[in-house]
Every structure is written in structure tokens, then in C-alpha cells.
């Protein structure tokens, strides 16, 4: 048998590794900044790009797509070559992938800070960037599959199964969720509206967690954990079962983000039960990780890489058990919209993703530089600081979540709400302070890593092309093998099987929601937004109001008492995109329309502390100063019309006339309360929108049954 000599490409791994470190720090800083704003609003600097509503999407996108994304690419390219015994398919594609991805990140950072956003969580990037992501993802796919096809190893190792499932599912999720109609170069509306948009968005959002933050990282675990510990993988059988079960079941669980909302009950229940069924497949990954360390626990005591991995895998286990528990309606009743969710995602983010990324960096960099880690002690200190950081982050957030939920729900014996919304917020401000300290510790640990890795690189000499050799793969006569071994020889079969499995859940949930009318009963009094309201809504989206304010009154006694009638599916049919939100740092706004006078909103936007002394909302002075861009109105009306919003024919040409008319009346109304403003200001449009939200349903003729 001829042994072939070839070289692993370390340069691309180095590039992705450095990008991981840089964007990790950037993403964490953005998170810290956002966290501090919650108790110290002035740190928003009264500057639009640094206000919470824009920093928060920057934080989430940077951590998910820049930090974890780059870490996954680095780890995948490092392990894929070694598992396939082949250099990457094409150096050129590798570099297109790298620079393309970094360009996407850079443009994402710029557009998000400028308020250019689709308003859909974790899919905020506008359509040109969406297209770029699709193209670069295809490049990544070709490069990965090219490498797999020219491999010198007959069977695909479990890590590669996970990489394949990741690639195909992320492609599917991204494309389906990003279908939007462009209004202009940097503005689009989601193709879907209201309940349907929510379903698609959380099918995407949940599975972004599954297939961007979980499956690739599990793949990395399957490579780096046995390598670092020198122990065999605990159970091949478990790998097979938990892999297929995981990808099939995960995709169904999206609706658990929408429990008690206007999403039809049957879809909510599917979300709940599939989340429960997901416990075992998720834990399969944890068990295969932890049991692999059997007989190597003495090494864990010595080696910081293994330490990070053990805590990462444990956090993975914790959060994949907690997730299903949160999907039970009785728990979700308490946890949803509170900081409990924030604690939950950070166990996953800081613990699982962050620590695993640190572990692989500590593993790969000394090896690629042909040296030892500069300081094991420093890495161990990083580990402890990070662990304490996670605890200090999570515990206050759990506490805050419990406490706020319980305050929201308390009534006096006379039947009045016991606490005003703001009281429930000011009460947990100390917890917000504590969590930012936790975050700071975690960030400090990461900076220690930067120094440690830097010293390691300086001490060693980078090996750009690592020599390796392996016999070429020769065609083999068909021999009888275990059925799964057969699939492992066939990457394309594996790709197709994964695609089929991950498609089922989404189809079963989406098709009825889109086609069966009973799922979204029509409310005749719900009418399209006026042009001014539409413009105001786009300002609402631009400023990221949905990052703190929900628009979804759930059918709970306390919410109905606090906000008004609970939300109905038919109310959102013209909402492209939906703005239900996922967190209530501020009160729900689904019934804000008509609740306060126009002048209240004006004063509140100018400085929230004038109307609510202890409010933690940022000031939005620029909305009061900026002129509304009305040139976009006709294009927006046309786009909405294409999406099926029933504006009369030719309305786009006269829309601005109606817009000015409405703006004049609001300005006149403000003048009555001694507020002088030109009707052409953005604030007027925003007030128009806020005064409209949730009002239409009140105009509906009451059915007879309620009149008796």
C-alpha cells in the first residue's frame, strides 16, 4: 500500500483562531456594556449606536456568529483535516470563507450600530448581508465536502456527522427565516407576518442554538476531548443514537419559546413534548463526553484544557436539562420574559460555548506553534476566574427572574396588582449589578487567556504546513458491515438523511399554521397601519425596542390586569415582522395604544426619568430631533402590498399626503399640552405607532354571548 505524504493547513486555523479571540473579547465587552446600561442608563452616552437597543443585538450577534462561529470554523478545519487524513479541499475557498465571514461580521457590526436591522432576534442582519451569509456558507460547505470526498479514511468519525448536520441545517434555517422583501438597499420586511413570523423566527432562533451553538461544538468535543485526554470515546452506540435523535427532535422544539402566546395551542404542545424528549439525546452527548474521561480524572486535575472541557460539558448537561424544564407550561409561566431566561442562555453561552472555545484554543495553539502552553498556572487561574464569573452571573439572574415573576403576579386581597411594573424592576437592580461583576470576571479571565496565548505564540514557531502521511484510499470490494458503518462511508447519504430528518419537524408545524385558517381567526376590526404608523414602527424596530419590551399579553390574570385584554392571533396579521419580543426589561406594549396622552410619550422619549423617576430606559433625544424620511413611504407601501397588506391600488402615491395629515393632527395635539414640535419629526411617527398598537381589537363589535 502506497503511503502518501501531505500537509495539514494550519494557517487557516490560525486565522480563525485569532478571529475567535478578537471577536470573543469584542462580544463580551458589548455584553458588559449592555449589562451596565441596565442599572446605569447614562452609559448609553445618549448616542444612538451605543444605546442598549443596538448594543444588545451587537452582543448576541458577535458572540454567536463571530466568537462561537469563528471558534467552530477553527476547530472544524483543524479536526476535519486530521480526521480525513487530508489537507483542506481548496486553500482558495478556505480564504474566501475566512475573509467573507469576517467581512460579514464587520458589516453586521456597522449596520447593527446604525440601527439597520430586520427586528428578528438573532437574524437581525439585513438582506444583502443575508445573501452574503448564504454564499459564504456554500463556500464553507464545498470546502468541507471537498475535503471529506478526498479523504484517506474510509469512515466518517462522529465529529464529522455533527459537522454535516450543522452545515445542512443552518443553511435550511437561514434561508427559510430570511425570506424578506427588500424595500431599499438596507431595509426589508419579513415575508411572514404575526403568528407565522413568530413560528418561523423561533423555529430558526431555537435551532440556531441547536445547530450553530450545539452540534458543531459537540463535534469539536468529540475530537478534542479524546485527543486531550488520550482516552477512547466511551460508546459508539451512544454516539449513533444520540446524534440521530438529537437532530431529529431538536428541530421540533422551537414553539417552546412561544408558550402562552397567540400561537395555536397544538403547536405549543408540540414544542413542549419534543423539548422533554430532547433531554436524553442531549444528555447522550454529555455522557459520552464525561464517561470518556473515565480513567483519566487524574489528568483533569493537571490539565487546564480538560478542566475547561469538563465544566463546559457539565454546563451543557445543565442547560439541556433546564431547557426542557423551562418548556413545561407551569415553569414557563414563571420564567418567561424574566431574567431566568437570561441566566439559562448564559449557562450555555459562557459555560458550554465559551469554555469549550477556550479549551480548543489552549489545545490547538501550542501544537500549531510547536511548543508548550506558556503558563498552565495562568490558564488554571483563567479557569477558576471564569467559573466564578459564570456563577456570579447566573445566580443573581435566577434570583432576579424568580423574584420579578413573583412580584408581577402578586395581588392585594382586594384584587389590585400589588406592585407597579417599575417597582419590580428597581427591586432587582442590585442583581443586575452583581451579574455585571460576574461578566467582568469572565472577561478578565478571557484577557488572561489572550496574554497566555500571545506568550505561547512568541515562544514557539508557527508551523504553517504540518506534515502528515497516510495510505491512499483504495476501492474496496463490498464487505458486510454494521448498517451504520455503511452510512459512515457515504457522506452524501448522510447529508441527505440529515436534511430529511431536520425538515420533518418544521414542515409539520409550519404547513398547518400557514394553511389552516382556524389557527389565526380573523378579527375584522384589525386594519393595516397608516403610512405614518408604519414609519413609526420602523423607528421602533430600528431602535431595538423589542430587546426590552414585549408585545404579547399572555392569558394570565396579572397580565390582563396590568396591560389589558390578552393578545389574539388575529391582531398581528399585518405585523411584518412580528415584535413580540422575548424579554420584559420594560413593560409589555401590546396594549400601549391610547393608554397615555401623546405628550406623555413625547416627554418619556425625551427623558424617561421625567415621567418615571426611577426608570432605567435610555433617552431617545435624537428621535425628537431627527426629521422623518418620508421619501421611503411609497416603497414601503408597495412592499407591504406585495406581502398582501390590503392598501388600495395606487395608495403608495398618495400615502405621504395621509402621513402629513396625521402628523399635523398629532403635532396639534402636542401643542395643546404646551409641546411645540414640527410634524415632520420622527417622534411624531413613533407616537402615531405607539398610540395604534393593540387598539384595533377594541373596535370589534362584541359577540352576543358577552353582552348578556
Amino acid at each position: 500500500m502506497q503511503v502518501e505524504k501531505f500537509y495539514y493547513d494550519n494557517k487557516i486555523v490560525k486565522a480563525f483562531g485569532l478571529a475567535t479571540v478578537i471577536f470573543g473579547i469584542v462580544g463580551m465587552l458589548a455584553g458588559l456594556w449592555a449589562a451596565i446600561q441596565i442599572y446605569y442608563p447614562a452609559i448609553s452616552l445618549n448616542f444612538p449606536p451605543t444605546t442598549f437597543g443596538r448594543i444588545r443585538p451587537l452582543h448576541t450577534n458577535a458572540i454567536i456568529f463571530a466568537f462561537v462561529g469563528n471558534a467552530s470554523f477553527a476547530g472544524i478545519y483543524y479536526s476535519l483535516q486530521r480526521l480525513c487524513k487530508a489537507r483542506l479541499f481548496s486553500d482558495k475557498l478556505s480564504w474566501i470563507h475566512f475573509w467573507g465571514w469576517q467581512a460579514i461580521i464587520a458589516s453586521a457590526a456597522i449596520t447593527l450600530l446604525l440601527g439597520i436591522t430586520t427586528g428578528k432576534e438573532y437574524a437581525e442582519l439585513e438582506w444583502p448581508i443575508d445573501i452574503a451569509i448564504t454564499l459564504i456558507w456554500v463556500v464553507f460547505g464545498i470546502n468541507m465536502f471537498g475535503t471529506i470526498l478526498k479523504r484517506r479514511e474510509r469512515h466518517l468519525y462522529v465529529a464529522i456527522w455533527f459537522y454535516i448536520a450543522t452545515w445542512v441545517t443552518v443553511a435550511l434555517l437561514h434561508i427559510v427565516n430570511s425570506i424578506e422583501i427588500p424595500v431599499s438597499f438596507l431595509k426589508s420586511y419579513s415575508w411572514y407576518a404575526g403568528v407565522q413570523d413568530a413560528l418561523v423566527q423561533w423555529w430558526y432562533g431555537h435551532n440556531a442554538v441547536a445547530f450553530f451553538l450545539t452540534t458543531p461544538v459537540l463535534g469539536l468535543m468529540y475530537y478534542f476531548l479524546p485527543k486531550a485526554s488520550g482516552r477512547p470515546v466511551y460508546s459508539y452506540r451512544l454516539s449513533i443514537i444520540h446524534f440521530w435523535a438529537l437532530i431529529f427532535i431538536y428541530i421540533w422544539a422551537g414553539p417552546h419559546h412561544l408558550l402562552y402566546t397567540s400561537l395555536p395551542d397544538w403547536a405549543q404542545s408540540l414544542g413542549t413534548v419534543f423539548s422533554i424528549m430532547l433531554i436524553a439525546p442531549s444528555w447522550g452527548g454529555m455522557l459520552n463526553g464525561l464517561f470518556t474521561l473515565r480513567g483519566a480524572w487524574d489528568k483533569v486535575r493537571e490539565d487546564p484544557v480538560l478542566k475547561f472541557m469538563v465544566v463546559a460539558i457539565t454546563c451543557y448537561g445543565m442547560s439541556t436539562l433546564e431547557g426542557p424544564i423551562l418548556s413545561l407550561k407551569s415553569v414557563n409561566f414563571i420564567s418567561h420574559f424574566t431574567d431566568w431566561t437570561i441566566a439559562h442562555v448564559h449557562i450555555g453561552g459562557l459555560g458550554w460555548n465559551g469554555f469549550l472555545a477556550f479549551a480548543i484554543l489552549y489545545y490547538m495553539i501550542p501544537r500549531m506553534w510547536g511548543t508548550q502552553l506558556y503558563s498552565k498556572k495562568l490558564a488554571t487561574n483563567h479557569f477558576w476566574l471564569g467559573t466564578i464569573g459564570i456563577i456570579l452571573y447566573a445566580v443573581p439572574m435566577y434570583w432576579a427572574g424568580f423574584e420579578q415573576a413573583s412580584m408581577w403576579k402578586q395581588f392585594t386581597p382586594e384584587g389590585q396588582l400589588k406592585f407597579q411594573f417599575l417597582e419590580t424592576v428597581t427591586n432587582i437592580v442590585p442583581m443586575y449589578v452583581a451579574r455585571s461583576i460576574g461578566g467582568l470576571l469572565y472577561l478578565t479571565g478571557a484577557l488572561m487567556m489572550v496574554y497566555n496565548l500571545y506568550r505561547t505564540m512568541v515562544a514557539g514557531k508557527f508551523i504553517p504546513d504540518e506534515a502528515a502521511e497516510a495510505p491512499a484510499l483504495v476501492k474496496e470490494a463490498h464487505k458486510k458491515e454494521y448498517w451504520h458503518r455503511v452510512i459512515e462511508r457515504k457522506p452524501v447519504t448522510m447529508l441527505v438523511l440529515s436534511l430529511i430528518l431536520v425538515s420533518i419537524g418544521g414542515l409539520v408545524q409550519m404547513i398547518p399554521t400557514f394553511l389552516v385558517k382556524e389557527n389565526i381567526p380573523t378579527i375584522t376590526s384589525v386594519k393595516p397601519y397608516t403610512p405614518l404608523e408604519l414609519q413609526g414602527r420602523d423607528i421602533y424596530i430600528r431602535e431595538g425596542c423589542y430587546t426590552c419590551h414585549s408585545q404579547m399579553v399572555r392569558p394570565f390574570r396579572d397580565e390582563v390586569a396590568r396591560y389589558g385584554e390578552y393578545s389574539k392571533a388575529g391582531e398581528f396579521v399585518y405585523d411584518h415582522p412580528f415584535q413580540w419580543g422575548s424579554k420584559r426589561t420594560g413593560p409589555d406594549l401590546a396594549r400601549i395604544g391610547g393608554k397615555y396622552p401623546d405628550s406623555w410619550h413625547y416627554t418619556h422619549m425625551y427623558d424617561p426619568r421625567l415621567t418615571q423617576q426611577l426608570s432605567i430606559m435610555p433617552r431617545y433625544v435624537w428621535i425628537i430631533r431627527n426629521n422623518l424620511d418620508t421619501t421611503s413611504t411609497p416603497a414601503k407601501i408597495r412592499a407591504m402590498k406585495t406581502l398582501g397588506v390590503p392598501y388600495p391600488d395606487g395608495y403608495d402615491q398618495v400615502a405621504n399626503r395621509d402621513l402629513m395629515h396625521q402628523a399635523d393632527s398629532i403635532a396639534a395635539n402636542l401643542k395643546k399640552d404646551k409641546i411645540e414640535t414640527a410634524p415632520t419629526k420622527e417622534i411624531v411617527a413613533l407616537i402615531a405607532y405607539l398610540q395604534r398598537v393593540g387598539r384595533d381589537i377594541k373596535l370589534e363589535p362584541k359577540p352576543l354571548a358577552e353582552n348578556k
Binding site: 486530521r82 479514511e153 477512547p232 460508546s235 395551542d265 404542545s269 424528549m277 433531554i279 439525546p281 389590585q416
Partner: protein, 393 residues
């Protein structure tokens, strides 16, 4: 060996007992030991149990010290003092929770007030329960320590008779729980796969994992059946309706008991200082944002002049505040009827007729005090619906 106990160990035993004693102090401190406590059968049982457990602790502590003593002598050369110090530390650690225990017990006593549990004051009950719990905790801790000390002995004996292979093949309960095979048998599980040096074993699935998976699938089936086939589980809407209905019942019962049924049909101006002060507090908290602290008006109308938009009769004002009208929000879910009456009275008694600086221009109709109330503006459709709902209160 107990007979050969050295004075040092005696000292330790004494220390242990002394440290346990403070746990009993709260019982004595909880008030005069009223004869009733001792006539209560449960209290007597508790006290007997406490004493019994204390005796057990004493015996176990003796055994522990004895075992430690044996170990100590065997390690004459190697850091005798260190071992003794560690024994003392262990004992101190064991005792520490007892010391802390006083605080929670005391807090309980403060909180529980005059309520009684099983015939004794709840503070006594909780203190006794806490002491019992702590004693059990100490016993468990002592047992663990004794087991640890004795085990090292057993292992030494085992080490002499057992081959290293036998030892490696031994499975702990944890291994058996997970169906793990001994590490030495690993070769038989190796599938011979080799990916960049990574080998794969073919261990059986941990049984609890597999059955847990089945259980989750069964749970899913039952859940779907219950909520969407048999409909024995409530839908979100039904859940809401039930919670509101049960709350309504409770509120009605409470109001009936309290005899506090002020509403817009019978409200009068409250002139008591306490009511006015309470009204002022509500006003500053919720009304001042729009009407300003002086009542001069800003976003909302001026409340100090004689011009009223919806009427100046206390009953009408009550209604305006309670249900809201036009731009005026409804406050019924934030404030009780009593509080609404207080704030309306505060406006009428204290704010009205003052001359605040920089007032808002008059709005509405001129209405002199004592004039017949003008007809209120027609209530909006939704506010009428609210009236109907609230009238049940």
C-alpha cells in the same frame, strides 16, 4: 481501645459536647419553660428524641475518636500532631452548623408570632425540629467519618490479600448504575476504529439513560393525549378563565368579611388626616407625572382651578380615576377603591383651590364647588364593559 483513651481525646469529647450544647440553648431561651410545653405529648417526644440522639452522638463520637486514636498510633512517626489537628478541625466543622443554627431558629421565632403548631408555640416547634434535624445531620456526618476511618483499615487488609487485577475489576455502585465495565476489560469493547488516534469503545447505553428516554417519549404521548385528544388538561384560555374566576371568588369573600365596599355609588370625600396623607402619597407616585406635584397640570389638566373636563363631583372623579377616560389611564388594577377614594379626596381637599406656579390653562367647563355635577362624558364602550366586570366586586 476505649479504655486506653488519652486525656487529649477526652478533651475533644468534652469540646464536642460543649459545642453541641448551644444548640439546646434556644429551647431554653425561647421563653419561660412554661409547664404547658412539658405537658404536650409531642413536645415530650421531641425532648426524649433530642436526648436520645444526643446520647447516640456521644457514643458515635467516642467510637470516632477511638478509631482516630488507632490510626493516630499507627502513624506515630508521620505527623501525629497534624492528624490530631485534623480531627479537631473535623469536629469543629461538624459543630459549626450548630452554632449557626441559632440564627435561623431565632428568625423563625420572630416570624411565626403567636401561631401554634400541634399545641405548642410555633417557635418552640421549629426550634425543636431544627435541633432534631441538626442532630441527625451530625450523626450522619459522624457515621461518614467513622466509615472513612474504618475503610482505610479495610482497604489495607484488602490490599494484602487482593491482586491488583481484582481491585481494578471491582465495580462501584456508580459503575453498576451506569452499566460500566471494568477498565481492564476495555480491550474487549474496543471497536478497532482509529481516527487520528481516537479509538472508540462500544459500551452499553447506561440503563437509566435509555429508560429515561423511553419515559420521556411516553410522557410526550400522554401529554398530547391529555391536552389535545381527551381534553382533560385545560387550554391556555381555560386556564386563564379558571384563574380569574377563582380569584374573583376569593376577592368577594375577602371584601364581604372586611365590610369594605366603597365604590362610585357610595364614595364620599374623606377628611381624615390619614386618608389625605395616603392620598397624597398615591398622587405623588402615580399622578404627578402628568398633573405635576402641585396639581397645576402639564400633560394632564390642571386640578387646582375650577374647570373640570369630566366633572368635579367626588363620585365622578372616583370613576374617572378608577376606569380612566380618553387620555386618563385606568388605575383600578393598581389601586384599591379605598386608595382611589383617598387620592380623589386629596385632590378635592388639598389641591383644589390652590394657586400653583405655572399652571396649565383651564380645560373643560367652569364648575363651582357645591354646584350640581354636570353630566359626565359618555363612557367609552370599553369602560362600560369594565364597569360591568367590576360591579361584581
Amino acid at each position: 481501645m476505649l479504655l486506653h483513651m488519652r486525656t487529649k481525646n477526652k478533651y475533644i469529647l468534652g469540646l464536642l459536647t460543649a459545642l453541641t450544647l448551644p444548640a439546646l440553648q434556644p429551647v431554653w431561651a425561647a421563653g419561660p419553660p412554661a409547664p404547658s410545653v412539658f405537658s404536650n405529648p409531642l413536645a415530650l417526644t421531641f425532648i426524649i428524641l433530642m436526648t436520645l440522639l444526643l446520647v447516640i452522638i456521644g457514643i458515635l463520637a467516642n467510637i470516632l475518636i477511638g478509631a482516630a486514636d488507632v490510626k493516630l498510633r499507627k502513624r506515630k512517626k508521620a505527623g501525629k500532631q497534624a492528624t490530631l489537628a485534623s480531627v479537631i478541625t473535623v469536629l469543629l466543622l461538624l459543630a459549626a452548623p450548630v452554632l449557626y443554627a441559632q440564627d435561623p431558629a431565632a428568625t423563625d421565632a420572630v416570624k411565626s408570632g403567636p401561631a401554634t403548631i400541634a399545641g405548642m408555640s410555633s417557635s418552640t416547634f421549629y426550634i425543636m425540629a431544627t435541633v432534631l434535624f441538626l442532630e441527625l445531620f451530625i450523626i450522619i456526618a459522624l457515621l461518614i467519618n467513622i466509615k472513612f476511618l474504618l475503610r482505610t483499615e479495610k482497604e489495607k487488609i484488602a490490599a494484602e490479600t487482593e491482586t491488583p487485577e481484582e481491585r481494578a475489576n471491582k465495580l462501584s455502585w456508580w459503575d453498576r448504575f451506569n452499566s460500566l465495565r471494568p477498565v481492564t476489560e476495555e480491550a474487549s469493547l474496543d471497536l478497532g476504529h482509529d481516527y487520528d488516534g481516537i479509538r472508540e469503545l462500544n459500551n452499553r447505553l447506561p440503563p437509566w439513560w435509555l429508560y429515561g428516554f423511553y419515559a420521556c417519549i411516553i410522557f410526550a404521548g400522554i401529554y398530547l393525549w391529555r391536552f389535545h385528544v381527551s381534553h382533560t388538561g385545560p387550554s391556555s384560555k381555560q386556564e386563564y378563565e379558571r384563574s380569574v374566576a377563582s380569584a374573583e371568588l376569593k376577592i368577594q369573600e375577602y371584601l364581604k368579611q372586611k365590610g369594605d365596599a366603597v365604590d362610585e355609588t357610595n364614595v364620599t370625600i374623606l377628611k381624615e388626616d390619614a386618608d389625605i396623607a395616603a392620598g397624597k402619597a398615591v398622587f405623588l407616585k402615580s399622578c404627578a407625572a402628568c398633573h405635576t406635584e402641585t396639581g397645576g397640570g402639564n400633560i394632564g389638566p390642571n386640578l387646582t382651578d375650577d374647570y373640570w373636563i369630566h366633572g368635579n363631583d367626588i363620585k365622578i372623579m372616583f370613576k374617572t380615576i378608577r376606569y380612566g377616560i380618553n387620555a386618563m389611564p385606568s388605575w383600578q388594577s393598581q389601586y384599591s377603591n379605598k386608595q382611589i377614594a383617598q387620592v380623589a379626596s386629596y385632590i378635592k381637599v388639598k389641591l383644589h383651590g390652590t394657586n400653583p406656579p405655572n399652571p396649565k390653562a383651564p380645560q373643560g367647563t367652569l364648575m363651582k364647588e357645591e354646584a350640581a355635577p354636570a353630566a359626565p362624558a359618555a363612557p367609552a364602550a370599553d369602560s362600560a364593559a369594565q364597569t360591568k366586570k367590576v360591579a361584581m366586586n
